[in-house]
């Protein structure tokens, strides 16, 4: 797969039509794959394997506007949604990007392997659905599907929604009801929900990793960084400061969030931030009809739209969930 991609990229980069490739390179730790801009010489460094979970579409906002030439982007099926959404919002000029859809059968969450009790990992090899893990304490095995990234469990399908060409095979890895966690929360009492979220959000250290990785959070300047906005980022002096940040963040991406799950993936504190966005997605789908942000370019999202017959806000009082 990686070989195939590199060979194809060598062909494409040969005649200088493209400014480069946005892809993944080896990161600081063995299983870390970090976004990188490659030219023809550096292609040896390109990595594509089961650890390339990160969504590269946001990097195109900057890169694609820097050069006159087109740029090549490697996008997994789920990354395409973010790419389309950014094109819809005119943050990426579709004509300046050549999208290679890369095959994906779900990406591995090394953290999950560690949580499964496997420590001291030195190497991971794949054997079909089985992962063989070399550790300092000997070789262990674990089922691949048990350690997929959280976002792969909400996989939107194997189709690349924007690719100019596709390399490799994809598989859908969705594990049934992606709203199950949202429903579990809904079933709690209001007090339990409050305790859950206060517990989670109070872990927030305001490192802004979620914001920086989020393809929908692509503002030139975030309101929380703007001294004139009145809500500028301040030292977390009270326990509501983080909640305010995360509520507003979820609200700002409402209708635009493609549910790529990057926010939770990168959170160093392990806060399940995607559960905020997913709840909004669930609400919007239930109240205003099914909508998938980034399905195609040029969509009008539900919060910039309305029908005369929309439900009143009081509908929340009568919908399911614990009170």
């Amino acid at each position: 797969m990686q070989e195939m991609i590199i060979n194809r990229l060598r062909e494409l980069l040969a005649d200088g039509e493209y400014a480069g490739v946005i892809g993944w390179a080896q990161g600081e730790t063995p299983f870390d794959r970090t976004p990188n801009l490659f030219n023809a010489e550096g292609l040896d460094q390109l990595r594509y394997d089961s650890f390339c979970g990160s969504n590269l579409s946001k990097y195109l906002v900057q890169q694609a506007s820097k050069t006159e030439k087109k740029i090549i982007a490697l996008l997994k099926p789920c990354d395409c949604y973010s790419f389309n959404q950014l094109c819809t919002e005119h943050r990426i000029d579709r004509n300046k990007v050549y999208v290679i859809g890369v095959g994906c059968k779900g990406k591995i969450d090394v953290e999950k392997i560690r949580k499964a009790g496997i420590k001291g990992i030195t190497g991971i090899t794949e054997d079909g659905d089985l992962l063989k893990i070399e550790t300092m304490y000997g070789e262990k095995e674990i089922s691949r599907k048990d350690v997929l990234l959280e976002k792969c469990l909400a996989c939107k399908g194997k189709e690349h929604k924007c690719a100019d060409e596709v390399l490799g095979e994809s598989e859908e890895t969705c594990s049934g009801d992606k709203y199950a966690a949202v429903r579990r929360l809904e079933a709690m009492t209001a007090e339990e929900r409050f305790e859950f979220w206060r517990g989670e959000l109070s872990k927030c250290i305001r490192c802004n990793a979620c914001r920086n990785v989020c393809p929908a959070c692509s503002c030139i300047k975030c309101v929380f960084d703007n001294p004139n906005s009145g809500v500028q980022n301040k030292a977390a002096a009270d326990d509501f400061e983080e909640s305010l940040f995360h509520i507003i963040r979820a609200y700002h991406v409402a209708g635009r969030c493609t549910d790529c799950g990057e926010c939770s993936r990168v959170c160093p504190q392990g806060i399940p931030l995607h559960l905020l966005n997913r709840r909004i997605i669930q609400d919007v789908n239930e109240l205003y009809g099914d909508y998938q942000a980034g399905e195609s370019i040029g969509q009008r999202h539900p919060l910039t739209d309305f029908t005369l017959e929309d439900e009143e806000p009081s509908v929340i009082d009568t919908r399911g969930g614990g009170k």
Partner: protein, 145 residues
């Protein structure tokens, strides 16, 4: 407010200029009563209400926030309240999901002719908030003396 005084709720009411603010004025002209802890902020249209303002009010110590606008179909700007309706539905639902008491936020459509409805709405809202008690979940505790 000192601790030994009886607690009364703080209510912020955002009213659109064309219908609800006029409805509130009419409640006054008709000498209808509602509690003094309701304070009105005039905005041009219900669609001007940024969720940030709602959260800010709670953060600074409000116990309830209500948005009043023209009835759907009567918006001075034709479509503003339709957007407000979706925005507030999504916001309130998210707050509910985060365990904030449902009753603390409300949207009510009040026309310029509905002075009585305005007063009744405020009376009812204050009653709801009084029953819910002080807003402890959303506040910046430094603001509560």
């Amino acid at each position: 407010m000192s601790m030994n005084q009886e607690w009364t709720p703080k209510i912020v009411a955002f009213c659109c200029n064309w219908c609800s603010y006029a409805g509130a004025d009419l409640a006054g002209s008709g000498r209808m009563n509602y509690p003094a802890n309701v304070k009105i902020i005039r905005i041009p249209c219900s669609c001007r209400l940024n969720p940030m303002f709602v959260l800010r009010a709670f953060q600074r110590g409000a116990d309830g926030v209500i948005l009043c606008g023209c009835h759907p179909g009567d918006c001075h700007y034709s479509t503003g309240n339709y957007y407000a309706r979706r925005r507030m539905t999504v916001l309130f639902s998210l707050l509910d999901y985060m365990g904030i008491e449902r009753g603390r936020t409300r949207v009510e459509w009040v026309s310029a002719a509905e002075g009585a409805k305005f007063a009744a709405t405020m009376n009812d809202f204050v009653k709801t908030i009084t029953e819910l008690g002080e807003n402890k979940k959303l506040g910046d505790l430094r603001c509560k003396k």
